[in-house]
Symmetry: C3
Subunit: 210 residues, 3 copies
């Protein structure tokens, strides 16, 4: 499935860290909105598997990653429990939720792009698939906890994913080693997104006449 | 697809009753929110097929149950019409909507768990798949009728599904006959959920420090 | 995949015009709600591919239409950019958003119905599949821009789709040439929907006793 030059183990790592940080963001959201423990585990799981599940469904990759390999769910449950324990006992880390969401967005955007690329699809398909893979988990989390989705509260969200995927594709086209291109793509997304969170960066907004 | 010890006909029955009660819950929601007749049929259909469709998509079972067997849609339309007729002419049954939703949750949670189990998946995958199958129809109904989803209004919802699926798995592991394990799992979910509705049962809520 | 009597090229055209008009509706919604340029392109894309993606997933048609043929995404991006340019520079066309949405609903409802029919499914499955294909893109657009979905603001939406698909099926059963049946179905949906928008047509609403 993956391009032979791309370290398959790197994709696996991206997915594992991606589900862990999205699980943390789901657990913190659950704690903040007063859900119970099992509800928190369910929200963490759905946030964590949302993006990769959409990617696998759209690209017809079966069994879906968390059905094929139960280790993902074990990682999700362990991370979510730790995050809930932390949020019940220790003072909140400022921006922890936003940072976990940004890292999840970055990892899954590049993972989705990479899988689409390995399937031989054109760059425009790769960009859209990556963006959807990155954004789906957080969208589900926000819709299920009845909040205005992050994707609409801060300007740079889908835009950060698009910029990072384009950077990744350009570097690979320029002959850079895949693992460096991957790392750069992830850092571009993470940097743009955290910049938007911390310093209010935003693109010019669209507006209608009249 | 189904485990040879599991009566295949029982799974079919679970699905048929599940779509009927979810169709009722969709029709009652449509009546309550002032939709028109055809809109009510559409909402009843989507509520009724949501969970099983997600189950079949995730497990790559094609054709999807309601595409393979049109009897499901006939049952849905007949039940939804009866429910809309009732709600237009007769006094409302108290808790009818919540009871139909609880029964649908119970039936589809166990059906989703059973199908995942028959595919040879590990218990943790079985529990998550069952929970998602049970909750998806009601979530779609509530999102489409622009209400706060039931899953977030009452504490015990996903939790009831998880408890019932675990009971089902433990009984099967203990050698109990599948149809008894199925019945027990359904009753556990129904009992916990109706207890939460009628007497306000809830688990300890998560809360953040500060 | 398509019925041999049905011009395959017509289905392709329905899909291309369908994605273009839904892209316009997504871009206008993004402009109206103050998203940035890349967010607007993402919303236009998701609105445009939502219905056809659901159709292809449910009917197990892979690769999904916009993954198989990147021309769809090019059409979407070009149309969305033009729509955003228009909305930034020129006075708004009254009802442009509602008209684009109505045409998208009509085209994708008939396209979804046609594909289901070509798969040999029964009329009731064809009607539901067409309705879901037509409504999914607009639902996603409205949910993602945190608006009350159009499907719930105006009475005649799902109903228009159902009526047009039934008209299409009846004409084909009566021996009318497929392209005429398709055109009639599209016009019925468009006419009912625009009538509802312009003159407030609606079906009797459901209401509960007491």
């Amino acid at each position: 499935m993956t391009d032979s030059r791309t370290p398959r183990v790197l994709l696996y790592l991206l997915d594992l860290i991606g589900v862990a940080v999205f699980a943390i963001s789901g657990a913190l959201t659950a704690a903040r909105t007063g859900m119970d423990l099992l509800g928190g585990l369910a929200l963490a799981s759905i946030t964590a598997i949302g993006g990769g599940t959409l990617r696998d469904l759209l690209l017809d990759r079966h069994p879906i990653f968390w059905i094929r390999d139960a280790r993902y769910l074990v990682v999700i449950l362990a991370t979510a429990l730790l995050a809930m324990l932390w949020s019940a006992c220790l003072p909140p880390l400022s921006h922890a939720l936003l940072a976990a969401d940004a890292l999840g967005l970055a990892l899954f955007a590049i993972s989705g792009a990479q899988v689409a690329e390995a399937g031989g699809h054109s760059p425009i398909v790769v960009v859209l698939m990556g963006t959807m893979t990155g954004a789906a988990g957080g969208m589900l989390r926000d819709m299920m906890s009845v909040q205005v989705p992050l994707i609409f509260r801060q300007d740079i969200y889908a835009s950060a994913a698009i910029a990072g995927i384009v950077a990744y594709l350009l570097l690979k086209a320029a002959g850079v080693r895949p693992s460096w291109a991957i790392a750069t793509g992830v850092l571009v997304i993470l940097g743009l997104r955290m910049g938007a969170v911390l310093w209010g960066w935003h693109l010019p907004r669209l507006h209608s006449v009249g």
